[in-house]
Structure formats: C-alpha cells, structure tokens
C-alpha cells in the first residue's frame, strides 16, 4: 500500500508543478492579447491621458513580472483580484468612492452552475456510455453494435448547436416537455433547476457518449482474446458475466481515462451549448470577459479550467492505479 501512496503523492506534486507552469502560460498569453482594458472600455476616441489614468488605476502600468507575482501570490491566498468591468467608473471622472466586485464573487455562482450542468450530464452520460459499450462488446458485430456505433459517431460529428436545435425542436417545440431556455438563477428549487438543465445536459450527453462508449467497447474487446477470458468461457460462465466480471475489471484503466477527459471537457468546453440555451455558466462569462479584456476574470477562468483538467486527470491516474491488483496487493 505504501508504494501506492508514494505514487499518488508523486502525481500530486507533478500536478501542482503543471498548474504552476500553466499559470505562467496563461499570464503570458493573456498579456499578449492585442489591446487592453483601458483601450477597450474607452473606445476609439480615447485620449492618451484617460488611457494612462485607467492603466495606472488598475496597475496595468507596472512591469508584467511584478504583475504576475502579484497575481500569483493573490491566487495562492484565494484572492483572484477584482474584475475591471464591474468596477465603478465614477472614480475615473472624479468621484473616488468606487465599489469593486472581486473576481471570486463574480465567478463563484457561474462556476457552480457549470458544475451542476457537468454533474447532471455526467450522471446521465457515463453510465449510459459504459452500458452501451458493454452491450456493444457483448453483441459485437451485430446490428445493435453497428447501430450504436453509427448513431454515437453521428452525434459526435454534428456541431453542438445543431444537436441543441434538434433537441429543442423535438423536446421543446413539437413536444413541449422541456423548457428550451435554461435561465436558472439563485434560489431556484432543485427540481426546477434540474428540469431547466435537462436540454443542455442531453445535448452534451450526445456529444460525449461516443468517445466513452467506443473506448469501453474497444478496451473490453481487446481483452476478449486473452487466455483468462477463454478460461471463463470454458468454465461455462454466461457471456454477460464474462464481460462484466472478467473483462471489465481489467479494462478499467483506459475507460477511466477517457471518462476523465470527457468530464474535463464538460467543465471547460461547453460555451456553445451555454449560449444556445442561455445557460449562465462559466463559459459565457469567459467569452464575455475576453471580449472586453477583463483580464482578472479571464485569467481566473483559465486557471480554473486548467485546475479542472489537471485534477480530473490526476484522479483518473490514481483510480487506474488502484484498479490494478498488482499495485494494490504487492507480493
């Protein structure tokens, strides 16, 4: 067990190192964006004095390295800075009683919404995809297998907004069972929230199922030629049990990894679906912030996305290790 603990700690340390490197990349990339907040907010008629004044006020006139370490040390303390856009610009015209909204305050509800959508989608998509993969492996090369493969491939190949509109057409317009607008807000009951989230969740399910299902199928079929599967069949074990009891436990590692990748996608890559359904998630906030060069928000979003990717992959790594009895039970 000690060796497992050691591996986990190693991975954790590597994850933190990765996050640090990513933070440098994010900061550099965001600073390379053409134009800055001051120019964006003041528009074409800006006087150089006004631009300089806003820059000074937001600390944009300092050296990038200084700003990076300010940002990093803040982030380590949990302070992601203040949103530029939410600042009270009265200060720039003389009144200095400006109230500033912190990035954390702004992101928190959006991020919670995104996690909710990702959670609902995962709860539907992961069991669905894995079951579909198992059945496809069991009835491989049958009509069922082919239909499952073709339909999931079709759904992953279609643009997300197209899938979204098709679902709206069938589930909101022709058969009005689900709301087409997912404008959830704070204080909404869980049931209603769930109902409003259903269409985007179903759309995303269609997007992520193919990948997970095909990996489950391939990982299982890959093992079916191994001697221990032949042994199980020669023991007269029922085909379904051969797959679930003998193949699946040995196929977990690749399946877990693909599931983690798709979950990460659900957190970081769902802007289009959010826009279609007017879902107030972090993706929309991110895009809006890039548009107006609200750098603290952009950086914080990037950091959260990176952390989600790293954390999910780390979890997948650890679960894959734990799924191997050789590591759980050394000689």
């Amino acid at each position: 067990m000690n060796s497992v603990l050691k591996i986990i700690l190693q991975r954790l340390a590597l994850g933190l190192l990765t996050l640090f490197i990513v933070s440098i990349v994010i900061f550099t990339a965001v600073n390379m964006l053409p134009g800055d907040f001051a120019e964006a907010i003041l528009g074409q008629g800006a006087t150089p004095e006004a631009v300089a004044s806003i820059r000074r006020d937001l600390g944009l006139d300092q050296h990038p390295i200084v700003r990076y370490f300010d940002w990093l040390s803040g982030a380590l303390r949990g302070d992601l800075g203040n949103s530029f856009a939410q600042a009270n610009f009265a200060s720039f015209v003389g009144d200095d009683s400006g109230v500033r909204v912190s990035v954390a305050q702004q992101i928190a509800p959006r991020f919670a919404n995104t996690m909710f959508l990702a959670g609902v989608t995962a709860a539907i998509a992961v069991p669905f995809a894995v079951m579909l993969g198992i059945l496809a492996a069991l009835y491989r090369n049958s009509v069922f297998d082919k239909v499952a493969n073709i339909s999931t491939l079709t759904s992953i190949s279609s643009p997300e907004f197209f899938l979204a509109y098709v679902l709206i057409l069938f589930l909101a317009v022709l058969n009005p069972v689900l709301p087409s607008l997912s404008n959830i807000y704070e204080g909404m009951g869980f049931g209603e929230r769930l109902q409003k989230t259903m269409l985007p969740a179903l759309t995303l399910t269609l997007v992520v199922t193919a990948h997970m299902m095909r990996m489950t199928r391939a990982a299982i079929i890959n093992l079916l030629a191994s001697p221990y599967i032949e042994m199980a069949r020669l023991k007269g074990i029922k085909p379904m049990r051969v797959i679930i009891k003998h193949a699946l436990p040995n196929a977990l590692a690749p399946i877990i990894n693909v599931v983690a990748l798709n979950l990460a996608y659900l957190i970081t890559g769902v802007v289009v679906v959010e826009v279609v359904f007017v879902y107030p998630g972090i993706g929309q906030l991110f895009v809006d912030s890039v548009k107006i060069r609200d750098i603290p928000v952009v950086q914080a979003c990037c950091l959260i996305f990176a952390a989600a990717y790293i954390l999910l992959n780390l979890t997948a790594d650890i679960l894959s290790i734990l799924s191997n009895p050789r590591l759980r039970h050394p000689k």
Partner: protein, 549 residues
C-alpha cells in the same frame, strides 16, 4: 458402448487465414472411455490444442469445425445450442490451460475464481465449494491450503498456479478434463509435483482426461493410450506401452529418436590456456537484494558451458552481468585475460562485438518491420563497417551458414518464418558481429524437439567451424546432454556444482544436481511411479528441495 464418454468421428477443423479457410484437422477420430487418460502428442502446429478444444465443442475465434461429429456422453456437441454447451462446460467438462499465469484472471482472488463454476452452475453454494477448494488445494499439496485461496494470481508461483488451476477444473467434479500442456512452462522439479498431483487426483475421482503435450516422456507417465498427430492427421494410436516399445510409423520413431543427439567428448582444456570468458567472484544485486553470490567459472575457446538451474536461480542474471547490462557489485569479467569494463556503456565497440547473445523468444527479439536482410545487415554494418555490395555479400554468406538460402529469405519479414527459422536468423545476427563468445539464453526451449535438435546441430557445427565459445543457459537437461562440454549448476544465485559434463552425469552428484537429474522424465511409463516411491510421496517438491539445499 455405454461407457464411451467422448466420441469424435471424422472431425475436420478449419482456421481462417486472410479470406480463405485452411484445414487444421483433416478427419480425425477420437474416443475416450470414462476414467481413461488419452495422451495427444505432436509438434506445434499439429492441431493438438484445436482438437482438444473441439472435444469440448469449443472453437477459438477464426476456427470452425467443418465436418464430422463430436458427442459427449450422448450429447451431439455440434448440434447442441450454445446454452446446452455452456451448461456442460465447467460442470462436466473442464479445461486446464498451458499458462496458468495467463489463464487466471489477474483481477480476482484464486478462491473467487475457483468457486465461480460451481456457484454459477448451481452445483454447490459458495461456502461449500470454497471449503471443497481448500480440500483440493490440500490434496494437490499446495502450501498453506487454507490461506492460498485469498491471494491474487500474481502473488502465487507458476507451479502453484498450475495446481490451483487443476483444483479449479476439479471444482465441479467433471467427467472429463482437457489438460493442454499443463507442465510445459514449468521447471523439471516443479513439473514432477504437478504431474504427480494431476495423476493422483484424476485416479481418485476416476476422471477421464485428454492430456495434450509435445513431451513424450511426460505423456508416457500420464496416459493409458497415446495418439500421435502430425499436421492435422493422425499418425497412429496405441496403448502407452505398445507405443513406446514398438512404434509403427517412421514419424513416431523419429520423435522417439530425438534424444539421441549427443556431441562427442572433447579432450580436456590445456591447463595453461587463457579462457575466452572468465567470470570471477561476481556478486550482483537488483536494488538492494543480492541475486548472484560469488559466481565464478571459465569458458575456453571452442567450448560450450551449460548453465543449468530452475527459474530464479540466476542464470539469466549471470548473462546480464557478462554482457554489462547489469554491472556486478563485486567481482569482474575477463575477456581473453583482460578485464572488461563492468558497464556495457564503457566498453569499446570491439569488446561489445566479441560478446553476442541469442534470445529465447526469437519472435520478440526480431524487429517485425525489418526484412531478414536488414536485420542481419545491421550488425554487419555497425560492427564490421561493410556497406553496399560487400554488406550484401556478407549477409548472403551468413544466410548460407544457417542453411537458409539468401535468394529465398533475404527480403522476407520475420512473420513469414517458422519458429525454428526465426531462431536461425537470431543466430546469424549474432554471427554477423564475428564474436568469440555467444550467450544462448534458452534458445531451444520454445521450439519443438525436432526443430530444437536442428538448432543444436547447427550451433555445434558453427562452433567447430568458427571455434566459438558458448554459454548455454537452459533448464532442460536433455539439451545439456546434447551440446555441453562443461556444466555449471546454479541455485538461488550461487553455483552449487560445476565440472565436465560426463562427470556431472555420473554419480555421485551434489544433492541438488541429483534432484534436477532425477526429475527429468524418462520414457519408461513406470518412471514417475518408481520415482515417487523412491522419494517417498510426502518428500517430493518444495520440501525436498528445501531439505537438500
């Protein structure tokens, strides 16, 4: 006949290769009575396993039974639905595979796998069949029978797994067990334990068995009747004693004759000559654990030293020390009287050239994407600096030396060769460096006896022509008898005995050498019975090895 258990008539089996079906078995009859053991023998590719599986009504993917009939206890297995067959498998017909290590599911404990068939077939409850499992483990003389079932397969040694698999096959007390080369992958001393256990338990429960093997001496101990197969055809069938004493067909006689190859004894080495390779007091470790202790031996020009021992005795580790892959902790290796740098990275190209290696698995030792010409051409270019026409000429000469004409084989890929041919390519690749010394690591153990003999003869001829020295790592004493001049016996990382071959095979032996020698199966069908009597039944196996060391 009412006591006929298996009745196969004119069975034809085909395997798919690309788009066509190629015959594997061409109309073979096979019958088995209750409680009878039939030995099925032949080279690899003879169709033994395929026929054995067909007796269970089972075909691997890409294989089909295209003709004849297979019936088990009156049930027509070819006509039966897969559900009917599934109910027979595991319950009344069981299978013991060649590699227990690969055939146990790595994700589950032994006992969970043991009770699966009885529970799933409704023969016994979990607790009851687990209790029975412990009893079977005890009968098969597994160590800690009460506790071993809670282990995962990777925590148990190969010989123990093989017995656990026999126990698993017995779980439902089947009428028929197919043993598919159950001891081929085991050391001789372990093989005896497994053979004795299998025989005992088959007799006790009056189980019928089909025992598949390529080892005649093994089948002589196990079977009542022997059937010889060659390329999908039956050669002959007779009861064991008749078959051993009076084989009718030439092919069977040639199988019997394989063990006759033996090199003449060479004159003793001059006392003042410098050995080609001298291993001096080598102690080596993996991590902090010493796996070799104070190993010393010399190998002279034109001589073969066989290094013998069970798996884990340090034979291959010694080879890794000599090649410099594992620098020894203490001691040194001399080449022609000059110490070699311990780490291969510090050796000169010429020093590297002098020590070459031929591997056990020719399959994995050859790059599957390179043609034969490229594989052999690489060391010719790297060590000898030949290019263009000169290189090609040299590769052709090498192919001639291994009796594989260049015009046929130069452009082929390894996948287009047989196992014996691949091993010949391995030999040619080692020769390409024009070495003085070649390490042969179990080079014949993956091959059939006839093919193996061809390889041994080739190596012997090359040695005479080129004055090569060999270090021959093997666990097969028949191979030692055939090719070695001197023998080094290893156990637990140390040399227990060494000397001239003829002396080694003549008593008195070191106790461990004696155990090894006496464990090699002989053709005499009473050999195992007598041996067990001699050793005392409780005395075989681990206990005996422990006591004698």
């Amino acid at each position: 006949m009412s006591d006929l258990l298996v009745d196969m008539r004119g069975v034809r089996i085909e395997g798919r290769s690309d788009e066509t079906w190629m015959p594997i078995i061409n109309g073979v009859d096979l019958t088995l009575k209750k409680g009878e053991v039939l030995g099925l023998i032949g080279e690899s590719g003879a169709g033994k396993s395929t026929l054995g599986l067909a007796a269970m009504g089972f075909c691997r993917d890409g294989v089909r039974i295209s003709g004849g009939s297979v019936s088990f206890d009156g049930v027509d297995l070819l006509a039966a639905s897969s559900e009917v067959k599934r109910q027979l498998l595991g319950k009344r017909i069981a299978y013991v595979a060649q590699s227990a290590a690969a055939s146990f599911n790595p994700a589950h404990k032994l006992m969970d796998q043991h009770v699966e068939a009885p529970v799933q077939h409704g023969v016994a409850g979990r607790a009851e069949s687990a209790h029975d499992g412990v009893e079977l483990y005890r009968k098969l003389r597994l160590p800690n029978p009460d506790e071993i079932g809670f282990r995962y397969p990777h925590q148990v040694s190969g010989g123990q797994l093989q017995r656990a698999m026999t126990a698993m096959a017995m779980a439902c007390r089947p009428d028929l067990i197919i043993f598919d080369e159950p001891t081929t992958a085991l050391d001789v001393t372990t093989q005896i334990e497994v053979l004795a256990s299998i025989r005992e338990i088959v007799e006790e429960f009056n189980t019928a068995a089909i025992y598949i093997t390529h080892d005649l001496a093994v089948v002589a101990q196990m079977a009542d009747r022997i059937k010889v197969l060659l390329k999908g055809d039956e050669v002959e069938e007779a009861d064991t004693r008749t078959m051993l004493s009076a084989p009718k067909e030439d092919y069977t006689k040639s199988l019997w004759a394989v063990r006759a190859f033996e090199r003449p004894e060479k004159p003793p080495v001059a006392t003042d000559s410098t050995p080609v390779i001298s291993v001096q007091g080598v102690t080596a470790a993996y991590g902090t654990v010493d796996v070799l202790q104070d190993v010393s031996f010399d190998i002279h020009a034109g001589r073969t030293v066989a290094v013998v021992g069970e798996s884990g005795s340090g034979k291959s580790t010694t080879a890794r020390c000599i090649t410099g892959l594992l620098p020894p902790r203490i001691g040194q290796i001399e080449l022609d009287g000059t110490p070699l740098p311990l780490d291969y990275r510090q050796r000169t190209k010429d020093q590297l050239r002098q020590v070459q290696m031929i591997y056990q698995m020719a399959d994995t030792a050859l790059n599957p994407r390179k043609s034969i010409g490229e594989i052999i051409g690489r060391p010719v270019e790297f060590y000898m600096g030949l290019r263009g026409a000169a290189k090609r000429k040299r590769v052709e000469d090498l192919l001639d030396q291994i009796e594989m004409p260049a015009d046929q084989y130069f452009h082929r890929l390894p996948s287009e060769l047989s196992g014996g041919q691949k091993q010949r390519i391995g030999i040619a690749r080692a020769l390409a460096a024009e070495p003085k010394f070649i390490i042969c690591d179990e080079v014949t153990s993956a091959l059939d006896q006839l093919v193996a003999e061809g390889i041994l003869r080739l190596l012997a001829r090359l040695q005479d022509e080129l004055n090569l020295s060999y270090m021959f790592i093997t666990h097969d004493l028949a191979t030692v008898r055939a090719i070695a001049d001197e023998v080094v016996v290893m156990k637990d990382g140390a040399v227990v005995e060494q000397g001239i071959k003829t002396e080694m095979f003549r008593p008195p032996h070191h106790a461990y050498t004696d155990l090894l020698l006496s464990s090699v199966p002989e053709m005499d069908p009473d050999w195992l019975t007598n041996l067990l009597k001699e050793r005392g039944v409780d005395n075989i196996g681990d206990a005996a090895v422990g006591k004698m060391s």
